[in-house]
């Protein structure tokens, strides 16, 4: 429902700017679903969005707003890229990616740990700190790719990773790797964790009612720390999968904003791990379509940000229309 409103409103707005909205949507749709390679591209873009969306979902379940997925994604990607080059590869090809992936996850967890430590020792504002880390990590990873770890040549990238750590692709010469299944597996594990384990139950209690949690002796600081670590780890895994499966090195501006797409996708999915997949699928399709949109029409690919923005607003304010009728009702009550 929100999606339809967002599409319509977004269309009207771009029409006011003199673009052809129907042409834009047709191009988006064609790019995402128009051909076999479109579908592949959609699922390839689904993967990173799914990881960041799950990172946001799990933090929201514990009642914290981790807006730092973008930075953790980049940090994880950098960790995997460096691990793929500089540490000796002991495992052979199909499973060689495991070690760099673990390094990427560990880096993501490390960033989460810094935020958690600041929260734990100084009681700082998590949202603000994680937000600021995005900018620091973007700059630091850019510096690493341009400076000390730059590969051969003039491009701002790290050296290419060892072929033995490439993630097996699901389709030859595409961007779709088995990272896709890893993201789905993470979603299933999270769903199980949240609804079938007592630790997950504690997460949900802290997230939905901190007071109840305190009365029942659940330490909310402990849960918040865990949530930040898990969230950071998942976002880091997203970055690692991107490097190991798609890019095979770290290039600056690796992420076109996957961290933020994740926020939107998680909201669209209703904040549950499994349904997050729906949100990630839609945003993956939009990302895949936007490439086609930018190439085939005169409409910039930023068009999808407009839709995303309107979509987010409509999802979290379900009573935009109801809110106005609420007012009328109140006036009736006054009479």
């Amino acid at each position: 429902m929100s999606l339809i409103i967002a599409v319509v409103v977004g269309g009207i707005i771009v029409a006011c700017l003199g673009y052809k909205p129907l042409e834009a949507y047709r191009a988006l749709f064609k790019g995402a679903f128009g051909s076999g390679s479109g579908w592949v591209q959609t699922f390839a873009q689904f993967t990173p969005v799914m990881f960041t969306a799950l990172a946001y979902t799990i933090s929201m379940k514990a009642g914290i707003c981790n807006l730092g997925a973008e930075g953790q994604f980049l940090a994880g990607a950098m960790g995997a890229a460096l691990a793929g080059v500089y540490i000796p590869q002991i495992l052979p090809y199909p499973i060689g990616f495991v070690i760099p992936l673990i390094v990427g996850v560990a880096v993501g967890i490390g960033i989460g740990a810094i935020v958690a430590a600041l929260k734990y020792f100084f009681n700082s504002d998590i949202m603000l700190i994680s937000l600021m880390f995005n900018y620091v990590l973007t700059l630091v990873t850019n510096w690493m790719a341009k400076g000390p770890f730059q590969g051969e040549g003039v491009n701002p990238t790290t050296a290419p990773i060892d072929p033995s750590v490439y993630m097996p692709l699901l389709k030859k010469s595409s961007q779709l790797s088995i990272g896709f299944f890893i993201s789905l597996a993470v979603a299933i594990v999270l769903q199980y964790f949240l609804y079938r384990t007592s630790a997950g139950f504690e997460f949900r209690v802290v997230g939905s009612n901190p007071k109840v949690a305190r009365y029942n002796g659940i330490s909310s600081n402990k849960i918040l720390t865990r949530a930040l670590l898990i969230s950071g780890g998942i976002a880091g895994a997203g970055g690692a999968v991107m490097v190991l499966g798609v890019n095979h090195n770290f290039i600056i501006n690796l992420s076109p904003g996957y961290g933020w797409d994740g926020v939107a996708a998680s909201l669209l999915g209703g904040g549950e791990p499994l349904t997050t997949g729906i949100g990630a699928f839609i945003f993956g399709a939009m990302r895949a379509g936007s490439v086609y949109l930018g190439r085939k029409t005169s409409i910039p690919a930023d068009f999808i940000s407009v839709i995303e923005g309107i979509l987010i607003i409509f999802i979290v304010t379900p009573n935009i229309l109801k809110g106005l009728s609420l007012r009328n009702k109140k006036e009736e009550m006054k009479k």
Partner: protein
């Protein structure tokens, strides 16, 4: 010149004031929202929209005043829209802000393409001229520091004073602070809580417009895609660091401005630009971290009435 002398050169202080003007206005705008109980997260988007409106207004009319006026109209309009979503429509304050940021980053990119037929950057405009005050010319140090400021810097100082009076010395200010702490109490006096919040957001819209106008018309004289790049969130951080008080927030922004000026000065002296650009953000993280739990208004981020649905 030795390294130490660069830390206190007049050039750095001049840049400090130039850098802090944008963030200062945005911090004040955030403060207006926070005080009345709205958790504002759309600084980035609001500033982007206003920055573009300023450039477009001047580009198409030829007058910088029209540009600033258009920015103000856009600022008030979108800030009120934000208020509508979070008060009357009861949306989540943080997420609506994220949505506005998304929307703004997309729509401004589309508008550059629509207006100037090129991607990424607008044509340049005259912008706001530097304001030289004859009196300062006679005092050497003051001239070096303040001679390169534009009129908005002085408006910022004026705004700090006006807001301090408005918030702490007027009946409206009292209502607004109570609307942020205990909205029910305001409602009991027969005032409409949401109306107060809307008024605060309208004032905040003007301040965002000046922040945006300063960055596009005052500094770069053009609009480029994503030109805010985190300054809005820095403003939020500085507003919190300043304990939601206009005067303290002003000084917090001055500290931020200093770090920004310093990193600009140190660029091109061997160290990596990327690492230097980290300095202001690291500064923000450190000060937010060590200042610990910052007290925000009790009703921040909650719709009023709380239970209606």
């Amino acid at each position: 010149m030795s390294i130490m002398s660069q830390f206190i050169s007049t050039g750095v202080f001049a840049a400090t004031f130039r850098m802090m003007t944008t963030v200062g206005f945005a911090a004040l705008a955030t403060l207006m929202a926070t005080k009345s109980g709205i958790m504002h997260m759309g600084q980035e988007g609001l500033m982007l929209l206003c920055a573009l409106a300023g450039v477009a207004g001047e580009y198409f009319s030829g007058s910088v005043l029209i540009g600033i006026l258009l920015a103000i109209v856009v600022g008030i309009g979108f800030n009120l829209l934000y208020a509508l979503f979070v008060t009357t429509c009861r949306g989540d304050h943080v997420v609506v802000g994220v949505g506005i940021n998304f929307f703004a980053s997309g729509i401004t990119a589309l508008m550059i393409m629509a207006f100037w037929k090129k991607a990424g950057q607008s044509d340049t405009v005259e912008g706001i001229a530097k304001l030289s005050i004859p009196l300062f010319k006679k005092i050497p140090v003051l001239d070096a520091v303040l001679g390169s400021q534009n009129v908005l810097f002085y408006i910022l100082i004026l705004a700090v004073v006006v807001l301090w009076i408005l918030i702490y010395k007027t009946p409206f200010g009292l209502q607004m602070r109570v609307a942020g702490e205990l909205p029910l109490a305001v409602a009991c006096t027969g005032k409409d809580v949401n109306k107060i919040r809307y008024s605060c957001m309208a004032i905040g819209g003007i301040l965002f417009a000046l922040a945006g106008a300063n960055i596009s018309l005052g500094q770069t004289k053009a609009f480029s895609k994503g030109m805010i790049s985190g300054r809005g969130f820095v403003a939020l951080a500085m507003c919190m660091l300043g304990r939601n008080h206009p005067v303290y927030a002003f000084f917090a922004c001055m500290m931020y401005g200093y770090t920004e000026a310093l990193q600009l000065r140190l660029q091109g002296q061997g160290a990596s630009n990327e690492l230097l650009q980290c300095i202001p953000y690291v500064f923000a993280i450190v000060v937010i971290a060590i200042s610990g739990s910052l007290r925000n208004p009790a009703a921040l981020g909650k719709p009023y009435p709380e239970d209606a649905n």
